[in-house]
């Protein structure tokens, strides 16, 4: 019983701490985050004109992940929050990756003729109007 009480006290102080942290989030930090987001957007736009070969996709997605992390941590204040809020986000992202990984593993390992065909399957007279 004592331990349940102390747990409740602890979680309450955790909630109060979160509330205090949120109340003290200041605008200079928002301005810095905005500057970083604009800079990363300009960088990824510029890089799209540079031939970075096979890495271009990975670099662009890495920059996007960095930008989204800034938004989630600072604008959505996940930085000041603990526990379940973080678990919900990470779990949902985990399931997205699981679904993506499973579907891609299926598509990429199939016997080639079992995949949907591209333009080679169209009759040569096709005008591409879908008929």
């Amino acid at each position: 019983m004592v331990s349940v009480m102390s747990l409740m006290m602890e979680s309450r102080s955790e909630v109060e701490r979160e509330e205090r942290a949120l109340a003290h989030a200041g605008w200079p930090r928002y301005l810095l985050v905005l500057a970083a987001l604009v800079a990363l957007t300009v960088i990824t736009f510029g890089l799209s004109y540079v031939d970075t070969g096979a890495w271009s996709g990975a670099i662009a997605l890495l920059i996007a992940t960095g930008k989204a992390s800034l938004v989630v941590l600072f604008f959505m204040h996940l930085r000041e929050q603990r526990g379940a809020a973080r678990a919900y986000l990470l779990l949902s992202l985990g399931f997205v990756l699981l679904l993506l990984g499973g579907v891609l593993a299926d598509g990429l390992t199939r016997f080639r003729p079992a995949l949907p065909a591209g333009d080679e399957a169209l009759p040569p007279t096709s005008e591409g109007d879908g008929s």
């Binding site: 509330e19 928002y30 662009a60 930008k67 938004v71 959505m76 993506l100 591209g118 399957a121 591409g128």
Partner: protein, 221 residues
């Protein structure tokens, strides 16, 4: 201890909004935030289906996807991105101004966020008109023959579905934030109680985060 009820503090604005089953206002706003995160997790899973469709068809039609992506206006896509990023900033600032006791300024920030959201939708309508004029319609409305038809039309299907679902979210966000701007202007929120604005902001930031991924996938790769 019989005198304890008499020593309770007078109701504050926060206490006035507190439901009986929460012991403190902080606990109530914490629970509301947690509920919002759960809802946002379902939103992520909703978009996940389209991200997976993109990944699957891109793995099938890698060359065609890259060619079709180059047909989109990359500069306009970048402007879209900057518009949403600045709108997220003004959203964060409106929460800040409510916390520091400046509701009128907060309402203006919310209106700026809505205006930027509407700008984003307008830019997208312009892009759609341009795509359709070039024959890059969705599904059976695909008329262009300049690119390999099967792969490029799949790209445009995924493009319309992803940006369309996202634009619906932007429109919903604009509606919700417009309503919150009105309530903020009427001084319904203060540092003691601002949960609706906080949650509206979280929704807006998530919609921005999703666009941050759509932008490179559709316009840059």
């Amino acid at each position: 201890m019989a005198a304890a009820p008499l020593s309770w503090p007078a109701p504050t604005p926060a206490a006035a909004h507190r439901q009986a089953h929460f012991s403190t206002a902080a606990q109530q706003s914490h629970a509301a935030r947690l509920g919002m995160w759960l809802f946002l997790a379902t939103e992520i899973l909703l978009f996940a289906g389209l991200f997976v469709a993109y990944g699957y068809y891109r793995s099938l039609f890698a060359v065609e996807f890259a060619q079709a992506s180059r047909e989109l206006d990359r500069v306009l896509g970048t402007i879209d991105t900057l518009v949403l990023i600045v709108s997220s900033f003004s959203m964060a600032m409106s929460v800040h101004f409510i916390r520091t006791g400046r509701p009128r300024t907060a309402a203006l920030c919310l209106l700026a966020t809505v205006a930027l959201g509407l700008t984003f939708l307008g830019l997208h309508a312009h892009e759609y008109a341009h795509d359709l004029a070039a024959g890059h319609g969705p599904g059976r409305f695909y008329r262009s023959t300049s690119l390999p038809v099967v792969g490029a039309s799949m790209f445009y299907c995924v493009y319309y579905l992803m940006t369309g679902l996202h634009s619906l979210h932007v429109a919903a966000g604009c509606t919700a934030l417009g309503w919150l701007a009105w309530r903020t202007f009427r001084q319904e929120f203060s540092a003691a109680y601002l949960t609706p604005v906080e949650l509206g902001g979280m929704y807006w930031h998530l919609v921005d985060s999703i666009w941050i991924f759509l932008y490179p996938l559709l316009y840059l790769l």
